[in-house]
Symmetry: D2
């Protein structure tokens, strides 16, 4: 069975952010055959028979607190070199359609009731088979049990209340608040998270198993992330950054099985805009005490790295929902820095798990 | 079944080179419990039940054309920061024992007959269960069918003639000359190769699958290797380097399934001594045409990277010999840049193949 | 005395190349106040009183062998991220005016007579005070005495024949052929060269004096340059690259006063387009034999680095011409990799020489 | 006049630290002709006629709070690859002589009176012409007016009380406390500081003028310093690091004349020992808005970089003392991150100032 037709709502929390804007533009461009599916995992041959919704079957809406319309945001991304100006012209209709489905978001302390209604209304008005809510809003400070529920958890609860599936693309707590996760299980809804693995951590998680397999002893693994844009401004705040640093730092020591010294910084460098640069320095010991190093510099565009994964996750989680899967989807660990329920941080092992799972979906409902 | 006692000869072609010297020192240090087995793949838990010969059961000899004794070579390595001076003192006895078993090597054009006799004599005089010949000599220029057999092939033929197994740790043709490979099969002997994957290529082969799994399009992959020592002087010769460059270049395009532009240089920089530094620059395309880059710099000690793999291979091939395996051992692809019979260049997939195979050995003869 | 009004012809050899196109766009944008003079040395305060022609007084023409018009070339540069699309629209008139003054260039073997006539006609038709010819064409293979004169020398000879000044922005031999240099002296014309110092060599020439001043001993200095575009394709040819590599390699050993091992590569990596990336690795020795390294990676846009220097040189050489200077201008060493008559490779010393000279120009004719 | 014979005491505050130990070993090795003067600025030809004390005329003593003797410290440095083991054997006598002149240091709150007596006793007992006190102790937290005098200021005051000259090789406040600086002036004593410019900042101060001279606009300059040893442990404390970060950060914006965004980190990575690695990322804008980057990685040995400068400064300040100079020596800015009274951060301009000054010394008393 190939790509199957079912109209799927993709409700983006942070719908006017860079990642969301790139995702909406990209889905339209892919549906229209305007671009090649570069960066799209679910367009690899391994997913051809998984019965995923086509890009043209994705319908976008979302919540946001800021008022700059999607067309304007797309224009700004094109000015920043993320998208071609020509492409923005070509998908203007789809940007307007998505813009018409954006509703005001919530701040900490707001009541969540309206959120679920927004979702139910989106599904019924547009005649969608199902809706997947994807959180691509700004990272929140770490959540501690007993705190009032932060917006990410309100959105996740609203998703489950309205019988939608849910994806945590940020390190915010979201569906991981126990009461919210239980709600998903009760209502038989699947969800996935947390924190999209788009750049430096992807490389770390790829390299760390190499040291393990060669019995080389990693002595320290230091890293610095320079980024601009809204993400830079938000993560430049040390309190907020703590959430992200925690999910980034686990990968190395959990893969190697021993603690590794590792200063890890996230800095706001506004002139970099949507582009981010990470430098990592790995000091390791080899045979007979020889001291060696590996350094890498990753220079990427944050929204171009994240947006196709948002589309991949929306397609996969919507498909899992249709197939009747419920609760956290550990098989999607490949996409996340801090994967819920994952057995390994190895990128390659996670990719095999994902492909095996996708193969199984092909024969599901 | 744990580590089993069987006395195994390790006959090093290039027995007075840096890699061989480090391997002899290291085996003695490991046997004596003087160092931790850092860099030793076969000391990982996955190999505990494979029935490999213990480090203390390895007995060294070899061929070489140069006359500087092993003790002196070890001293020079210690001066260069590769080994601790203290360690050289501690393993002086073992260095002398190995030195006593080094015989003159052959140059292109020499008759090979004596080589097999040297091997047979080594085995019988020292009462060894079996002998594995490992080529760690200087890389030869590329071999073309019809050329006279180069030394690497003479050594491989001598190994098989004398009922020894064989490992090609260099890119030289060795056992891959068809008539030589057939001899191994006729006589039921296992062999492995080619070209130890110790540094830059290990990182390349680890990273390339990441780009594939994420559907990112690699547009170019350029690299430069700076190295000193005898290896630098030898590979700084463009004719000789061609062998090595060819085995290094395959990895990326064979992993990705499409041709990738990739200038690749090996340069002799004498002041670096045993240390080598490689820089790679990967230019890749992401979603909607975004252009991104990954760079890495690897700074390692060549002999410290190679020597433990030589010991790993000697243990594994000797064990395969005892288990009755014959012909090229594709399961050892993990160790090689240009692995004979390998199904994949993915380091992680190769490691799984290796571990599965080692697990199977545990129940073999 | 501030910027003085005198209409100056800038005749670009390679007038439809990326550097020339960027220079024409940039001069128009600067004249119109559309952009800040970033990258423009002659807009620093030290040059305010030198009496240089204003950007609006520069009138462009040139020779080229290719037929793609300037407007189209500017469009392609904008697609490649070198210029803003908006800017191309704003300077369309100036691009067309320059396009109307482009004449067919010569190949090796052509007679040069027509070239001088093209220059004289340009000056008289457009009523220019004087004309400076700037060679920004593709690099030629090295010239040996006795060879037929290559195009760069034909252009230089034509410049001097037509009473124009001349700038060698490439490593081609140009005005350095003795008979051509003598012609300049005979006719009292100034010229400058060779090989614009835009990227890696600028950094090398800045860093090398630091090692000298600190008495640190550089043991090797290796470098690799990855570049695309026409320059990449041309310099990817090893014969041609030899000219450029020779001018790049001198800097370090001439600054330090002793020979330094230094593999140096220039590679064509087409996907990089106008962008070039250089990596340098410096191995040096410190106190009591300590071994240390400095690496740098420079990622720049070739035409954006070169174009403002072309404008700087045109302004300065035209001014020198007006002031009656004749022969090679050693004071412009700051701009060149292989500066004619220079006393030092130190970037800072060259900058002081330049500023001192410019100050002297202020009181000249 | 060449190197003149006058016996000069060098009193090291932090006399058993890595820098001090390397300085003592190095002076002995240089005096004995055992090593070349690599890293020794004052051995360049420009200083040949300055009348500096010879290495053999330097006599060492100092204060320290830790009790590990110099011989043991030198042994540890050799184990860490900083010095050759052989060298330690060769200078054992000199290490013991210096060890015999080490007195207990002070902590915050101690009375300073004894310190001046230690200095006077050292000078008289050993018959020294003069003594220069050099602070190479751990960096202190920032000093605010009104705080009790920290040890660095107590040592500086003691130096001046005892008619010694003084060098602040750390960012600690030392002689910059106004009352202490006034004491130096009153007593006609020279001093120099602050914070030896040994690595990353040396490279920054070398590169920043290049951007200025080329009119390139630096948009951000981020940096991270990884270091181990006692310095790493001390500077890993954010309060202490503030002193050092402040002196490092000034260089770029003061050179360029406009504020530059620049996250700057110092991290303790214990496994690096005496070695430190810094990575800097410079984002800059060129012509017509083109965005470019320069990255560098500096991997050096802290004590091998600092020790020869300590010797240079001791020789120069002792010579200035003899020549009757008084107060802060702005001409020594070349050696410092935060140079007292300096007119420029340009390394090359500072080097010229230094050489000019040294030339003047040759004809002084």
């Amino acid at each position: 069975m190939g790509s199957s037709s079912f109209r799927t709502g993709v409700w983006l929390v942070g719908a006017r952010g860079s990642v969301a804007t790139s995702a909406v533009c990209g889905a339209a461009a892919l549906a229209g055959g305007l671009v090649d599916p570069v960066g799209c995992v679910t367009e690899l041959p391994q997913f051809a028979a998984a019965g995923l919704p086509a890009y043209g079957d994705l319908v976008f809406g979302g919540h946001d607190l800021v008022g700059i319309p999607l067309e304007k945001r797309a224009q700004l991304l094109a000015d920043g070199g993320v998208l071609a100006h020509r492409l923005v012209d070509q998908v203007r209709g789809e940007l307007r359609a998505a813009e018409a489905e954006i509703r005001p978001g919530v701040s900490a302390g707001d009541g969540p009731d309206r959120l679920a209604e927004d979702l139910a209304s989106f599904r019924s008005r547009l005649g969608l088979d199902r809706v997947v809510v994807v959180n691509v809003a700004s990272t929140e400070p770490p959540y501690r049990p007993g705190d009032p529920l932060p917006p990410s958890a309100l959105y996740a609860r609203a998703a489950f209340t309205a019988d939608c599936s849910y994806v945590d693309f940020t390190p915010s707590v979201g569906a991981r608040v126990p009461a919210v996760a239980e709600l998903a299980t009760e209502r038989g809804l699947p969800w996935a998270g947390s924190d999209g693995k788009t750049g430096e951590t992807l490389v770390k998680a790829t390299l760390a198993p190499m040291f393990a397999a060669r019995a080389l002893k990693v002595r320290s693994w230091a890293g610095i992330n320079l980024l601009g844009g809204g993400d830079g401004a938000n993560l430049g705040d040390p309190t907020v950054a703590r959430s992200k640093i925690a999910s980034k730092a686990k990968v190395v020591s959990e893969t190697l099985g021993y603690p590794v010294t590792g200063p890890l910084h996230i800095d706001d460098v506004p002139d970099l805009g949507e582009w981010k640069t990470a430098w990592d320095h790995v000091s390791f010991e080899g045979f007979l005490g020889a001291r060696m190093t590996l350094q890498f510099t990753w220079a990427g565009c944050d929204s171009a790295l994240a947006a196709p994964l948002v589309l991949d996750l929306a397609r996969l989680v919507a498909r899992a929902h249709r197939a009747g899967r419920s609760g956290p989807l550990a098989e999607l660990a490949f996409f996340f820095k801090d994967p819920v329920g994952a057995r390994t941080h190895s990128v390659e092992a996670q990719f095999r798990d994902l492909c095996d799972w996708a193969a199984g979906l092909g024969s599901a409902a």
